[in-house]
């Protein structure tokens, strides 16, 4: 995934997906957290960051925005998603919610301005569910695409 460095005419965000600055050849692990040296982020990285943030935010945990987030984290952590098939279903629901919020804000140009094509998400697909039974971890490999035709594949560690 190419890092965006052109900030002209863009609305940048603070980078908090920790490993964006350390791209791997195939996929980026999208852990959350402020890095030691905060950086600006735009383009598809920003799209990725917004998506991951919304997907991993537990719905009902943000006061005054109780519908924001998804049921993904809760479902994984409390064992509701007991198999890959059901996890697929949960992902579909959660991803749809995240996309709805992003699309709604992108369309609200009065409040947020006109987004550039490479900052508008058009799809998010689940590529694989990675379960390491030895380490008791679950990760989701996701591929997102923006309106500019770019795509990025990354891993969301869930547990």
């Amino acid at each position: 995934m190419n890092k965006s460095t052109n900030y002209t005419g863009r609305q940048s965000d603070l980078c908090f997906v920790t490993d964006i600055d350390n791209p791997v050849t195939e996929v980026t692990q999208a852990g959350l957290g402020i890095t030691g040296s905060p950086k600006r982020v735009t383009g598809i990285q920003k799209v990725l960051q917004r998506y991951v943030n919304l997907m991993t935010t537990r719905v009902g945990t943000i006061e005054f925005a109780p519908s924001l987030g998804s049921i993904l984290a809760d479902s994984v952590h409390n064992g509701t998603a007991s198999n890959k098939s059901y996890l697929n279903h949960i992902f579909a629901v959660a991803s749809a919610d995240a996309l709805d919020a992003m699309v709604a804000d992108d369309a609200n140009t009065d409040a947020y301005g006109e987004p550039l094509d490479d900052e508008v998400i058009v799809s998010a697909d689940l590529v694989d569910i990675i379960i390491d039974y030895g380490a008791s971890t679950i990760s989701l490999e996701v591929d997102i695409a923006n309106q500019a035709g770019e795509s990025a594949e990354f891993i969301i560690p869930m547990r």
């Binding site: 960051q49 006061e63 005054f64 925005a65 804000d105």
Partner: protein, 527 residues
């Protein structure tokens, strides 16, 4: 106040403002949902902004009585008191009515009534009264209360007066004499239970309008100089029951104490103090000394203070109220004299002493069956509470006006009654008792005014009223200093000016209207 008091709407408003601010100042920052800026800057700032705005709003609301009035809703007593503390006064949140019920039993075994025992008015089961503390009733003197043995219709019954207190606040609990009650279950051999006399003391909590209306008095100077300052002074001393004050001084027609060779001079003030809403009743036991054809009862000066009439006289041990009892057949008359102690005041004749704490009453009770033995009577006196107490206060060195001879008086009371037919819509939850209370409140709100308007009363009733001949009567009875009664009866306004008599101290400046719930007769027709 905490963050939890912030509403969703308040937050949304603050967040919208914050988003606009960030976007207008920093167009290169993305604040969409899911961004770090939204989570780390916009949302916390918006929450804080909403909280601050809520605090400011609450502070503004809590610092203005006018704003509380406009916003309506429940009264925050602490917030109102915080404002009123600036004016050296407090919110009046109402009082509980109390009075005595006479319970009649057919047996005289020991009875224990625990705290919480109560009685409920038969006519309005919402009116409940309870004993303030546990008590025992016994045949001998070992209990808190002792039975009185009576013979009624050939049957022996046992009676006892019990003090009860309303379970709620408000004038609606000032029930009239003779109201029948149903006691709580558990008592056996109960023959009757009824109010010995009208209950008093019940008062509703103030509205914000009433608080605002009385603030001019609250912030007035406290001195014996004008009506407002006298009311403020006495309200501070005697409490909230000072409803109205009117001073009669040098230029007043009813000021007789200042006449020198018929010419009024300064230095004398009669202060008419309304220290009651509904007519207040003081019940005292007095021993009647036999005379030809009856008894004579002499009240000492302290007992006579502020008395303006006698409501009823009955046997002290009588079972039933005077309304229902043969004891009500007593007739009586009272004479007034100047008391033996006038203190620092100049009072020249009986009329000048009338209604002050310097009058002394002697009551003659006419009873054709009177024997040679003394007899214990129950006197129900109509009086302005606290006149003696307040006069003593006004005469104290610290308060006394050194240039004026200042005497407090009970106002001339126009005892008002009403007979009205009201058409109540079927299904209404309103009650005759509540309508009666509203009528009484309107009447009792008229002090030192020339006219008691019928329109205000009809408006308070709130329903269609039959104004036809004989269907509505508004009447009042005014007794001046001479003891002569004047009656005004009609089906319209009552105008005090039609009976003005300055030599008898009756003018719009000295008269107040007062009604007891028992004086309001309502015929209800469901439509």
């Amino acid at each position: 106040m905490s963050i939890s008091t912030v509403t969703q709407d308040q937050f949304t408003t603050a967040e919208t403002l914050m988003l606009e601010t960030v976007r207008s100042s920093y167009s290169g920052i993305d604040t969409r949902r899911g961004t770090a800026i939204r989570d780390l800057v916009v949302r916390p700032s918006s929450t804080l902004q909403a909280y601050t705005a809520e605090n400011a709003n609450a502070a503004a609301g809590a610092s203005s009585l006018e704003r509380m009035r406009q916003e309506g809703g429940d009264i925050d007593v602490d917030a109102v008191n915080a404002i009123l503390s600036n004016f050296n006064t407090t919110y009046k949140d109402g009082d509980y009515a109390s009075g005595y019920v006479r319970m009649v039993f057919s047996s005289n075994g020991t009875r224990l009534l625990t705290s919480g025992f109560g009685v409920t008015a038969n006519l309005d089961t919402a009116l409940r009264f309870e004993i303030p503390e546990s008590l025992s009733i016994t045949a001998d003197s070992s209990g808190t209360l002792t039975y009185e043995e009576m013979a009624i219709g050939g049957e022996t019954v046992y009676t006892v007066p019990i003090r009860v207190v309303a379970t709620g606040k408000g004038t609606i609990y000032n029930i009239p004499t003779g109201t029948y009650f149903t006691p709580d279950t558990g008592l056996i051999d109960v023959v009757d239970c009824l109010a010995m006399s009208s209950f008093s003391g019940g008062a509703a909590a103030e509205t914000i309008d009433e608080v605002i209306a009385r603030l001019p008095v609250a912030i007035a100077s406290r001195s014996l100089t004008n009506s407002v300052s006298v009311k403020a002074l006495l309200s501070d001393y005697y409490g909230s029951s000072i409803a109205a004050v009117n001073l009669q001084g040098m230029m007043s027609e009813t000021q007789q104490r200042n006449k020198v060779f018929g010419i009024g001079v300064g230095g004398y003030v009669d202060a008419y103090i309304r220290s009651f809403a509904s007519p207040a009743i003081t019940i005292i036991p007095k021993t009647g000394t036999p005379i030809a054809g009856g008894y004579t009862v002499t009240l000492i000066q302290a007992e006579s203070a502020g008395v303006y009439g006698i409501r009823a006289i009955s046997d002290w041990n009588g079972v039933y109220s005077p309304i229902d009892s043969a004891a009500s057949s007593y007739t009586y008359a009272s004479t007034r004299a100047i008391g033996s102690s006038l203190g620092i005041h100049k009072i020249d004749d009986t009329a000048q002493a009338a209604f002050t704490c310097y009058q002394q009453l002697t009551v003659t009770v006419y009873d054709a069956l009177a024997g040679a033995e003394t007899k214990e009577f129950k006197l129900e006196l109509l009086t302005a509470p606290g006149i003696l107490d307040m006069q003593t206060y006004c005469d104290s060195e610290a308060v006394r006006n050194t240039g004026v001879d200042f005497v407090l008086k009970t106002p001339i009371v126009a005892r008002t009654s009403m007979n009205v037919t009201v058409y109540l819509p079927t299904g209404t939850t309103d009650t005759v008792s509540a309508i009666r209370t509203r009528i009484v409140d309107v009447i009792n709100g008229n002090s030192f005014v020339p006219i008691l308007g019928l329109a205000a009363i009809v408006q308070a009733i709130g329903y269609r009223v039959d104004m036809g001949p004989g269907k509505l009567t508004l009447a009042c009875d005014i007794t001046g200093a001479s003891g002569v009664s004047r009656k005004i009866t009609g089906c319209g306004d009552i105008d005090i000016r039609t009976v003005t008599d300055t030599t008898d101290y009756i003018t719009p400046d000295t008269v107040v209207f007062a009604a007891d719930p028992a004086d309001i007769q309502i015929t209800q027709i469901m439509v």
